[in-house]
């Protein structure tokens, strides 16, 4: 996470931790506000998440979980003013059926010093995924990056773990956990308490 231009310390920080969220969310940020949304869903639901930023604000959305049924998740970031950061990290493991993620960020014209990042990663087991990262940017005064990758568990990592005497199933469990939870802080991980009933 880069935050060169934002002085985090002066910001009013709000953290939203949600597990198995099935409600649509909408947030409008005040100036000098920081919002972190952590979501872990053991089974994705079709929801809309919308954020609106004016000036000097910071949004991080960390969203991960399993896709088990046909779902569409719409995540919209709207940047209206100057000097905002918008970061979306999305991780999905497709177990069954089809998941669609529409991730759209709009940055208004005549704005400057905004930075937006969309990083979507998916792993396919027996399901499929479709990522649609859309940047609607009406100004050149913005730093924007987006990544979308969909694949399988990395062969090199599976091989490495197996050379330590770890079975393929256990190796996948390890990689699954790191893939889904690398985004989150300790606080939220404690709440998730993964490995109990969610254990695959």
């Amino acid at each position: 996470m880069k935050m060169e231009k934002v002085n985090k310390i002066l910001m009013d920080k709000k953290v939203v931790n949600l597990i198995d969220n099935d409600e649509s969310l909408e947030y409008v940020l005040n100036d000098n506000e920081m919002l972190i949304i952590n979501i872990f869903n053991n089974s994705f639901k079709s929801v809309d998440i919308k954020t609106t930023q004016n000036n000097n604000s910071y949004v991080v959305i960390n969203f991960s979980g399993f896709a088990r049924s046909d779902t569409t998740i719409n995540i919209n970031g709207n940047v209206l003013g100057n000097n905002n950061h918008y970061i979306l990290n999305f991780r999905a493991i497709a177990l069954e059926n089809h998941g669609t993620v529409n991730a759209k960020v709009s940055v208004n014209e005549n704005t400057k010093d905004n930075e937006v990042v969309e990083d979507l990663k998916g792993i396919l087991e027996d399901g499929t995924l479709n990522f649609m990262p859309i940047l609607e940017i009406d100004t050149s005064e913005v730093k924007a990056e987006h990544y979308a990758t969909i694949g399988h568990y990395p062969l090199e990592e599976l091989f490495y773990l197996q050379t330590k005497g770890i079975s393929k199933e256990e190796a996948i469990k390890i990689l699954k956990k790191s893939f889904l939870f690398n985004l989150f802080d300790k606080e939220f991980l404690k709440q998730i308490n993964y490995g109990k009933e969610q254990d695959e």
Partner: protein, 250 residues
């Protein structure tokens, strides 16, 4: 006994090993030397059944069992550990997690935390490695030398009966080579393990004296000697009178 018989292997339709054979008695130390790109790492990875390689024929016997083509973790459970030339990093997975999982799979008994910590601390001291590494993500942000040491730390905990060291000396400075070699010598003395060393340089073999040195060329071993063969190679190179361009021994 570790025994490779007439192993022929390909990568992307290119023949790398051609009727390769090698016998190692329990507790012996063997070194394989050979030019860049000749197939040394290929051999190491095939022993652990890396899915990238296609084996056309041959067998690999360890402790009386044919392990060729067995799932990688079963080969590891037989006691063979590979420390590869460039150990990869894995984000979000700590060394602790890897070792705990591996130990749990190895034995149904609960892990003795006291013993684990003691072994870990001793190994770190010998390796001149910060014990904090155990709680770090596997090789993330680690230098080449640190990676090799972390892998040896894994060995100290998992206690393989055969170590395959693929250029363990690459990326190490002179002092680190000494540290690593001492560690390997101690491990060998304590456990009586079998060791296969792949290296480019004689230097490592000055510290870890192998029983045999083999030259790999043209997909097979073309010459076997003792430690002095490594000296010959060092002074006159692989293209010298030891082997000709086709890799045939003279």
């Amino acid at each position: 006994m570790f025994k490779v018989n007439n192993l022929t292997a390909y990568i992307e339709n290119k023949k790398i090993l051609d009727e390769f054979s090698l016998d190692i008695n329990d507790g012996e130390v063997h070194a394989i030397m050979g030019k860049n790109g000749i197939g040394k790492s290929t051999l190491c990875k095939i022993i652990l059944n890396d899915p990238h390689y296609e084996v056309k024929r041959g067998s690999i016997i360890y402790n009386g069992k044919d392990i060729l083509g067995k799932p990688t973790y079963e080969i590891a459970k037989e006691g063979i550990m590979l420390i590869s030339q460039n150990p990869i990093s894995i984000e979000g997975v700590t060394n602790m997690e890897v070792l705990r999982t591996a130990l749990r799979e190895k034995s149904s008994e609960n892990i003795n935390i006291f013993k684990f910590n003691k072994e870990m601390e001793d190994a770190c001291k010998k390796l001149e490695l910060d014990p904090k590494f155990i709680h770090k993500e596997v090789n993330v942000g680690a230098s080449g030398g640190e990676r090799k040491k972390v892998e040896l730390l894994h060995a100290a905990i998992l206690k393989p009966s055969m170590l395959i060291l693929d250029e363990i000396d690459s990326g190490l400075d002179v002092d680190a080579i000494k540290v690593v070699a001492n560690f390997i010598n101690d491990y060998h003395k304590e456990t009586g393990c079998t060791i296969l060393i792949v290296t480019h340089h004689k230097q490592l073999l000055d510290y870890i004296k192998p029983n045999y040195v083999h030259i790999l060329s043209g997909g097979k071993i073309v010459k076997t000697g003792d430690y002095h063969l490594a000296e010959e190679i060092e002074s006159s190179g692989f293209r010298s009178n030891i082997i000709d361009e086709d890799g045939k021994s003279e």
